[in-house]
């Protein structure tokens, strides 16, 4: 790929993820009754070792929900919340005091469900836009070190390549302390499909 066509791919993927993240943030907004604002999507091509640094460091504790698309379009998709936002979200939903180190089944399930709803709205929006069926694996959630949360997503795309495309959109609440981000890790083989469906000439 030449530099200019690579730049074009990044622009198109960024736009693609913007639409998904917008739809997911709207769903999360109405679920939580909070006004959310999305930041601009960024798309970076990174070596495997640098992904967690790019996202703020492998050691921070986060709540991550992950699914993998296994149809024509192959990509990992994650919703990640920093630990304080995960606590705020769960306390808002369950109306009880939450300790991330000892989540009970209901709380873990609530976390997974919120992640699931975000991922679904993300996928519905992008799937409609490019008219490709998305087939996500059932999502799963965990609360752990960021580096550990990213291992399986990176192992899925990193099996074939040594660099990954990280498409990142952060969101935050306007009037309170609540934030997080969506992360898409598309497989390189899938980029062509997205490009052609987004009306780009064949590379």
């Amino acid at each position: 790929m030449t530099d200019s066509s690579r730049g074009r791919v990044i622009d198109v993927i960024t736009e693609f993820a913007n639409i998904g993240a917008g739809s997911a943030a709207t769903a999360l907004s109405s679920l939580l009754d909070v006004e959310l604002m999305n930041d601009a999507t960024t798309c970076e091509i990174l070596p495997l070792a640098k992904v967690s640094d790019y996202l703020g460091g492998a050691k921070q504790v986060v709540a991550g929900t992950y699914t993998y698309l296994c149809g024509d379009l192959r990509s990992g998709v994650l919703v990640v919340l920093p630990s304080d936002s995960a606590v705020a979200l769960l306390e808002h939903l369950t109306k009880e005091k939450v300790q991330l180190s000892a989540l009970n089944n209901i709380q873990l399930s609530a976390l997974k469900e919120v992640g699931n709803i975000c991922l679904c709205w993300y996928l519905i929006a992008v799937s409609k836009m490019i008219d490709v069926d998305m087939i996500p694996a059932p999502p799963d959630a965990t609360v752990d070190l960021l580096g550990a949360v990213l291992d399986i997503p990176l192992a899925s795309v990193g099996a074939k390549v040594d660099t990954v495309i990280a498409v990142h959109t952060s969101f935050k609440a306007i009037d309170r302390q609540f934030e997080g981000y969506f992360l898409m890790l598309p497989e390189e083989s899938t980029l062509k499909l997205i490009m052609s469906r987004m009306g780009e000439p064949r590379q």
């Binding site: 694996a137 550990a148 291992d151 399986i152 192992a155």
Partner: protein
């Protein structure tokens, strides 16, 4: 804690006392740690996947080729292969409900690393592996001790 050098995914690093190395946020990845107690020289390879395919570029990404490369690099820097001992950290199953073949790759990483160490004749003296929690490992080349931290449980030294 003193300064340490971070070893990221698919990276390999070697240090001599008093330097320290660290792998932060190991999930299904495994840190294969080799140590020569006489020369006080140690190394870590942070592997992502178990077995290298027929065609590959980064040896450090796979448990089999990464472990071999680490042993080779240590021997090239003067370590004696018969003195080397191994410690393993990581290999957890982070998403146990995920219905994908790859979700239990942590166990595969451990198995492959152990198999390769057996072939090389290197003994595994300590491990903190598998389970469902992520770990960070800090290696001290002076003592060969590895401090293992998790998000919520107490710190262990192996």
């Amino acid at each position: 804690m003193r300064e340490f050098k971070v070893v990221g995914i698919a990276q390999l690093a070697i240090c001599r006392a008093p330097e320290q190395l660290a792998c932060l946020g190991l999930g299904s990845c495994v840190a294969v740690i080799l140590y020569d107690p006489v020369l006080k020289i140690a190394g870590i390879v942070h592997v992502l996947l178990p077995k290298a395919p027929a065609k590959y570029e980064a040896e450090e990404k796979y448990a089999d080729t990464g472990t071999k490369k680490l042993a080779r690099e240590l021997v090239a820097r003067g370590a004696a292969k018969e003195r080397l001992v191994a410690k393993l950290v990581g290999g957890a199953q982070m998403f146990s409900n995920l219905n994908l073949a790859i979700s239990d790759i942590g166990r595969g990483n451990c198995t492959e690393a152990k198999k390769t160490l057996r072939e090389l004749g290197i003994r595994v003296v300590a491990e903190d592996v598998e389970g469902t929690r992520g770990r960070s490992a800090y290696l001290n080349a002076e003592t060969g001790k590895v401090i293992v931290e998790t998000a919520f449980s107490p710190t262990r030294t192996i």
